[in-house]
Symmetry: C2
Subunit: 291 residues, 2 copies
């Protein structure tokens, strides 16, 4: 397997060793968080929902009026080529587009050329032990901006959330709105199982439309599980399970929140079923059974 | 006067030509907006409120639990040396500290070394014409995060605000809270003159504690003008003037908001008095009359 020293990144118009991959200090991504990104999983050479990630990337660009410097087809080719040069069995492709380089000013100059960065890194498997025991989380009052539907690099609030989770020896921090509704995690969407149905916050400006969130909903419904997209609280009657979804972790059961046990304290049956459905789906993609 | 091609920037541990000044693509400033900054004016070699800017920089660092890699004294020396190498008569010093470089993960690794960037650029004089006619602004519902008291580089919301102001041919966008109170601009604090008193939003998590805001308040009080730090609205009875403050523009009268004329549509007497007090204060600093 390739080691980090030999990793290759795409920066603007060429591949370069990751260790030497740099952007200008006046890149607006560095000075203003003026950019967007995607993280895409690739298992055994099979990209998971690449087209969906690209579609969301274009929606994010549109939301901040950033015209990508490449076509969607060209970007797809570059992502594939980045993987070919960093062929981890389980890989995580990272794509970032920023507004570009200009003398620092909030105002966006005309004719600025966007910066494009693509990297590939090994995607670590979640330890089986972690899945058997379930993850832990804390809750925090949502301090993020009101356009969390845009997958932007303005992630400092989420970094602070994870920092607080780390401090509390938890795996994730969930954001609560002013009425105590659980919105999502710092890098995950969150589902509850309430009366044998899946419940997750509806898509609005406070929640990212997660690709794995969407896939989990579709697979659950195909499997016959009702799914309700509505605001929900942790103290609802009938809440028996929690899990969180992300590109890098599929579905991960959550067994403790703020020190309180969820359900019986073990990964829930339905949560694990969703995890199994997701992993089966990835296996089928890998085996070429689905496109 | 030096031209941009010859500008010099400090990056981490050395001076380098600005054109070649780069950071790694996995700098957390570039991928997570995990950093903070300051902009400091320097007129004729005299820094304006350098100690206040450094104190705020340290408060910002503390707020995100980032330990700067340099002492305050060392940073002061580096800022002065950056100016010495880019000696514009009117200069704008930019200091940015980010968490540092690490493989991308929301979690902050231990022993990460912060990135320090310092640049100096020419500070453009505000055209006299602009001051005579006054600036224009729009208002927008505040979509920013709830820690605007931290001077962080997670500035995308403010970039989008300025983008909207540009689209409306205005100079600034002011953020309104859910009750229509005017908080501040994308890169300015904002004052109203109401019944011959200055009024500006009190310092809380939705407002940056501007160095020029603070100075304007102190100079106004010394001059005998009452100053009230309280929430206020544009439609308040007795509101006759508006102005905005920033390090780069001192105090700038605002004569139109959302197309509506403020007062008599010309820069207000008290606004211009505050501007004069600020410029006199800078002149006195330059002449060595005050420290």
């Amino acid at each position: 397997m390739k080691q980090p020293g030999t990793l290759t990144a795409w920066v603007n118009d060429r591949f370069t060793p990751l260790g030497e991959a740099r952007v200008h200090i006046e890149d607006r991504g560095f000075q203003f968080a003026d950019g967007i990104y995607e993280v895409i999983a690739c298992f055994g050479g099979t990209f998971i929902d690449l087209d969906e990630h690209l579609a969301r990337l274009w929606r994010s660009c549109e939301a901040i009026a950033l015209e990508p410097a490449v076509s969607r087809e060209k970007l797809r080719d570059l992502i594939r080529e980045t993987y070919r040069r960093n062929p981890f069995p389980d890989a995580m492709l990272y794509v970032q587009i920023t507004r570009g380089v200009a003398p620092r000013s909030h105002h966006i100059p005309e004719n600025i050329r966007p910066t494009l960065v693509i990297t590939a890194r090994q995607l670590s498997q979640v330890p089986e032990e972690k899945i058997r025991r379930g993850a832990t989380a804390i809750t925090l009052a949502d301090i993020r901006w009101k356009r969390c539907d845009i997958k932007s690099i303005a992630l400092l609030a989420s970094v602070l959330g994870k920092q607080e989770a780390d401090r509390m020896h938890a795996d994730e921090a969930f954001w609560l709105d002013e009425d105590g509704h659980l919105l999502e995690g710092c890098s995950t969407n969150c589902f509850a199982v309430i009366d044998e149905s899946l419940v997750t916050h509806p898509l609005d400006h406070r929640v990212l439309g997660g690709i794995t969130r969407d896939l989990a909903i579709r697979l659950a419904r195909r499997y016959g599980l009702p799914v309700h997209e509505r605001p929900w609280r942790l103290d609802e009657q009938g809440l028996s399970e929690l899990f969180m979804t992300s590109t890098t972790n599929a579905a991960m059961p959550v067994c403790r929140v703020d020190g309180h046990v969820i359900g019986n304290g073990r990964p829930g049956r339905i949560s694990m079923q969703i995890r199994t459905l997701l992993l089966q789906h990835f296996d089928e993609l890998r085996a070429g059974k689905r496109s």
